[in-house]
């Protein structure tokens, strides 16, 4: 069993003992550093081709923290995964997982990190 799997089992155990839901709704998902780097690059560069590298908007709307303030988190996660029919926003399901989409939305809400560049 990998280190991550031990950790997951441990966390599930702790959650069970504490009587909390295993995947808390309001906690941001934990991702591996390598995957975080890939996601930041993806958002800045490839989402950026429509939303702008600085996420100030382009063909697609701005994705800055102030622009997203009044948008519900679930709706944004659903937009990333399923796209928005009738607009150029494509679905990213299959490219990002559900918890990764939630992670992206949480980072957008606090001001998205700078791109460290493509991974080696």
């Amino acid at each position: 069993m990998s280190h991550g799997a031990y950790r997951a089992v441990f966390l599930a155990f702790v959650a069970m003992v504490a009587g909390l839901p295993a995947a808390a709704q309001d906690a941001s998902p934990q991702l591996q550093p390598q995957r975080i780097r890939e996601l930041v690059h993806l958002v800045r560069q490839d989402c950026g081709s429509c939303h702008g590298l600085t996420l100030q908007g382009g063909l697609g709307p701005a994705l800055t923290a102030p622009a997203l303030r009044d948008k519900p988190r679930e709706g944004l996660v659903a937009t990333i995964l399923g796209g928005r029919p009738g607009t150029p926003m494509p679905p990213f399901r299959g490219i990002v997982a559900e918890d990764e989409a939630a992670w992206i939305v949480d980072r957008l809400a606090e001001g998205f990190p700078a791109d460290p560049g493509a991974s080696r």
Partner: protein, 395 residues
């Protein structure tokens, strides 16, 4: 007399010598083999030379270049760089300095230069419309909002191109319209409106300035306006090219420009499909549809028109394919690098410069052998633009 000169004017000679040393005479050169490479992440451009296949200089301070495009002054000396943040920067290629800069909109997508070279026009998303500037001073000379409907809305403008007669043609993404604005008297712009297909995303004008073709995101087909017979209005070409099939998700909008025209035909990216569509100019008959690796972004003819080179949308953006226009078949498939964003042919097409964003380099290929000739380091390179565009309608 002489002793007076020696007494009072002795300093003239050393000052002249010093000033000669301080400002060395620049080497005289032309600009026909120059160009710029956009370094999108750092807001810089490199001035490059295609003859020596080298970078000459770097110019910084150009703002957000995430969707930068470039047009050139008609003397080929200045590059007008349009940044995503609405910045319009005039770069002197000879001195590698900024000769002028204005932030003219909130969100901009590109521009064009008038037939007489006096106007540089920006197409803007926010606020939607076009703006014309004096090409020499960058002073605003005309502001033409892309307003539509009755509620004071303004559309994003795409597909701007220059036309003969100091006119400009463009499409309204949100309003399903093509417009032609006559700026021959910039103080009194005159705009003609033509209803078009749904959600035009980009467009091209053929090199003779006759046909304007807008790609449509919202419908299966393209909108075409014959500018020699504008009264006939917009016609849909290649209607239903998707044959009613569900389009694939589009991760990057294709780009259209006059480079798509080769051998009397237009080579067009099929949106949401792994195909290049080939249509005969004038008759608008579908000549072929060529299956390709993924969704095409740039479908670009080599200047002689014998080959068309294609790059692709994320996540297949490491590939390039080459189509022979004589047989309309693929003749090559290769991977020049990671995240191929753009390509530009040298003026007569013996070489092509390709930007590999995620490898941080520009790769140069021989178009005859398709072998790599050279590589240049560049920070997150995107668009590559050569001064030969200065002399082409629609560039």
């Amino acid at each position: 007399m002489l002793h007076l000169i020696v007494k009072y004017m002795w300093w003239v000679v050393p000052v002249l010598l010093l000033s000669a040393c301080a400002t060395p005479q620049p080497t005289l050169r032309g600009t026909g083999d120059l160009g710029v490479v956009i370094e999108r992440a750092t807001g810089q451009v490199q001035v490059i030379e295609t003859s020596g296949r080298k970078s000459l200089a770097q110019v910084s301070g150009l703002g957000d270049l995430s969707h930068a495009s470039v047009v050139f002054s008609r003397d080929g000396r200045y590059a007008y760089v349009f940044g995503r943040d609405g910045g319009l920067t005039k770069v002197d290629l000879l001195t590698a300095t900024i000769a002028g800069r204005v932030v003219q909109a909130g969100n901009s997508i590109g521009g064009a230069v008038s037939q007489d070279g006096r106007l540089v026009v920006a197409q803007n998303y926010e606020p939607g419309g076009i703006k014309a500037f004096d090409a020499a001073t960058l002073e605003l000379v005309a502001d033409v909002p892309a307003d539509y409907g009755t509620e004071g809305k303004r559309s994003k403008v795409v597909g701007l191109a220059d036309l003969p007669g100091n006119r400009f043609i463009y499409s309204l993404f949100d309003a399903n319209e093509i417009r032609v604005t006559d700026l021959s008297d910039p103080k009194n712009p005159k705009t003609e409106r033509y209803p078009a297909g749904k959600q035009p995303y980009d467009a091209l004008v053929t090199p003779d300035g006759r046909y304007y073709i807008a790609g449509l995101f919202g419908e299966d087909g393209l909108s075409m306006l014959d500018l020699w017979q504008p009264a006939q209005g917009v016609r849909t070409i290649l209607p239903g090219y998707g044959r009613g099939e569900q389009a694939l998700p589009v991760y990057k909008m294709p780009h259209l420009r006059g480079w798509a025209v080769a051998a009397g035909r237009a080579y067009l990216p099929a949106i949401g499909r792994h195909e290049v569509l080939v249509v005969e100019l004038g008759s608008w008959k579908e000549v072929a549809r060529i299956p390709v690796k993924s969704q095409p972004v740039f479908v670009m003819a080599r200047p002689d028109g014998r080959e068309v080179w294609v790059n692709f949308a994320f996540p297949d953006n490491g590939w390039m394919q080459v189509i022979d226009t004589y047989t309309n078949r693929l003749v090559d498939t290769f991977q020049p690098g990671r995240a191929i964003l753009h390509l530009e042919f040298t003026p007569k097409g013996e070489a092509v410069w390709i930007s590999a964003r995620d490898d941080n380099r520009v790769v140069i290929y021989d178009t005859g052998t398709r072998r790599k000739l050279a590589e240049l380091p560049a920070a997150s390179p995107s668009g590559i633009f050569f001064t030969s565009r200065a002399f082409r309608t629609g560039f």
